[in-house]
Amino acid sequence: MTTTARTHQPEFLSGNEFSIPTYAVLAQDGSLHDGAEEPDLDQARALRIYQAMIATRVLDERMLAAQRQGRLSFYMQCTGEEAAVIGSAAALDDDDMIMAQYREQGALAYRGFTFDEFMNQLFGNEMDYGKGRQMPIHYGSRKLHYMTISSPLATQIPQATGYAYGQKLAGEGLCTIVYFGEGAASEGDFHAALNMATVHEVPVIFFCRNNGYAISTPSVEQFAADGVAPRAFGYRMHVIRVDGNDVLAVYRATQRARELAVKDNKPVLIEAMTYRLAAHSSSDDPSGYRSRKEEEAWRDKDPITRMRAWLEIKGWWDGDQEKALQDRLRADVLDTMKRAEKRPPPPLDSLVTDVYADVTPALQRQLDQLKRHIRRYPEAYPRGARSLDPVLSAADHVEDHAADQGGE
């Protein structure tokens, strides 16, 4: 459909004709902004959200420390973005599909992924659903409808459009939410995904975490526009910008987006304005590209403190509960980490499974050859040799749980 209105002046639009406001509900002190309404969020769900936020923060702090101690090869924190991620996940049906970038462990915590499950992936042990193949933080759960993370950026965005198209055909009233950073939104896959979503009227929510940086690259070097939100106009897609540190605004906006997606098959773009309080990853040091002052200003907008203030005003939470929760979570993280660290890696045979549905003859030959080789040079492959020795291997496998189906 193309407009037919005519003009006779050669005037260019410059993109300054409109601006997209930020939807905000909750002030930092826990009160509501003047004129803002509280979303329909009961105590049980509010506490489920809050506890997932705390669990995520505790996990992140502890695992970064573990990485610093050399116990873990790599880690990425959600710190500062918990309200955006968990507030949005909470507005969904628990059976909706989540396709995340990598910094959305909060959504998984909200859905009920256990610390044991997190740890098994982080340590790539034999109970990791992903069989120790991916780097830490590449979680996935079939049971919890959380697509396994993939490192190449933005590839999940058109995949989400396709997944949601399948959901629409299946007619079960479900949708897909796809998370990505403002950096990833520069990839060609982003353009493909949004365009196809409006053309094919797909129940998908595009959730952009605009946290200001893509590694060292600030968003002013990522795009010249006023954020990512105006891109929706290019596809005639519904769009809203929210304060990403405001769990109530995020929750309400996502709830409404889900209605548009599921009831009207209208895809929606949500841009959550937030900030990555931690480093990009355990390999990064942000002091090289941004100021402490800027970080401090955002630390003052911490989404967890903000939500806690609101909960306390509501009388739904207090200092004792907070302390008890934090203590329990910290202890749990340590316990589960110790358990996970000790578990052996996945069996050698898992090197060649899942390449195809069935192991091909060529792969079987390669595996057999590898085993012969390891038997010949055991000192060069201590772990491999151990796993080939039936006695040692049995000792390693005292606890033998079925580790497939992402917990199913």
Binding site: M97, M99, D128, Y129, G130, K131, R133, Q134, H138, G140, S141, R142, M147, T148, S150, P152, T155, I157, P158, Q159, A160, T161, G162, Y163, A164, Y165, G166, Q167, L169, A170, T176, G188, D189, H191, A192, A193, N195, M196, V199, H200, S350, T353, D354, V355, Y356, A357, D358, T360, P361, A362, A403, D404, Q405, G406
Partner: protein
């Protein structure tokens, strides 16, 4: 059995698959109402509706990204790339995503339902960008399967197998055979095995291996060679990945000589892999070097198409050479 061309055979396979399983969907550029620029998807939209057979926007990376998501959801997408030359914008989605989906998730999720179809190869005066045979670009990628049919019968049976295969399959259709290759094809449903080569002619002096449209070239070469008294064994590889090493090994153990031909340029083409593997496995039985007859190591060109490509006279010439060893 009716006599039909390769396009009709492909259309039949899609029709059967869509009729049988409502999760099967066909889409791509111009695939919907128009039935595709070659008409492989003709009438499917009329029969199965716009939701199951449709045009996509013009964006290959989106088509395959979308298809990956759909397949992960449990649908059975058959995505068309209008020409194999235009599959490269989707290379990342295929090589980093399609191929690694199952492995990286420990089989929590997979895109085994996905089939990617693409018209492929030279011989239609296509110049640089309507002639390419990119199978070797994909053959280096564990996790996908690659199939190339040589005639209508094979096209139908292999495509049905590809759609139902538990792994993602790239299905390259030699477009110069679309209307040129005609043959008897059963109307009913049947499948041909993926991963198995076929000996199309037995012989004792030399083994000739190819796939797709190159099989016709081999047949003409065999005529010339047999006039010279050379008995040729001919093998259609059919699946490039995984490929059927054993059938070729057995043949070479018997003939002692091997010639492989493909349309793609020589360096890094799939003939290299076959040659390397066969000399590993048949070293003591080889009576002459394994020969490769391929396109020149240049992009495809238009006016010199004929000289550039591996035409049949090149085959007996090279296959005579080894005899002189």
């Amino acid at each position: 059995m009716a006599t039909i061309n390769m396009l009709q055979a492909i259309n039949q396979a899609l029709d059967i698959a869509m009729a049988e399983d409502e999760r099967v969907l066909c889409f791509g550029e111009d695939v919907g109402g128009f039935g595709g620029v070659f008409r492989a998807t003709s009438h499917l939209q009329e029969k199965y509706g716009k939701a199951r057979c449709f045009n996509t926007p013009l964006v290959e990376q989106g088509i395959i990204g979308f298809a990956n998501g759909l397949a992960a959801q449990g649908s059975v997408p058959v995505a068309e790339i209008q020409f194999a030359d235009y599959i490269f914008p989707a290379f990342d989605q295929i090589v980093n995503e399609t191929a690694k989906f199952r492995y990286r998730s420990g089989d929590l999720f997979n895109v085994g339902g996905l089939t990617i179809r693409a018209p492929y190869g030279g011989g239609i005066s296509g110049g640089l960008y309507h002639s390419q045979s990119p199978e070797a670009y994909f053959a280096h990628t564990p996790g996908i399967k690659i199939v190339v049919p040589r005639n209508p019968y094979e096209a139908k049976g292999l495509l049905l197998a590809a759609i139902r295969d538990p792994d993602p399959v790239l299905f390259f259709e030699p477009k110069r055979l679309y209307r040129a290759s005609v043959g008897e094809v059963p109307e009913e449903d049947y499948q041909l095995p993926i991963g198995e080569a076929e000996i199309t002619k037995e012989g004792s002096d030399i083994t000739l291996v190819g796939w797709g449209a190159q099989m016709d070239v081999i047949d003409k070469a065999v005529e010339l060679a047999e006039k010279d008294g050379i008995s040729c064994e001919v093998i259609d590889l059919r699946s490039i990945l995984p490929w059927d090493e054993d059938t070729i090994v057995e043949s070479v153990l018997k003939t002692g000589r091997l010639l492989i031909t493909h349309e793609a340029p020589r360096t890094g083409g799939f003939a290299a892999e076959i040659s390397a593997t066969i000399q590993e496995r048949c070293f003591l039985y080889l009576e002459s070097p394994i020969e490769r007859v391929t396109a020149l190591q240049t992009p495809a060109t238009l006016t010199r198409d004929n000289q550039q490509n591996p035409k049949h006279p090149k085959i007996p010439e090279t296959s005579n050479a080894p005899r002189n060893y």
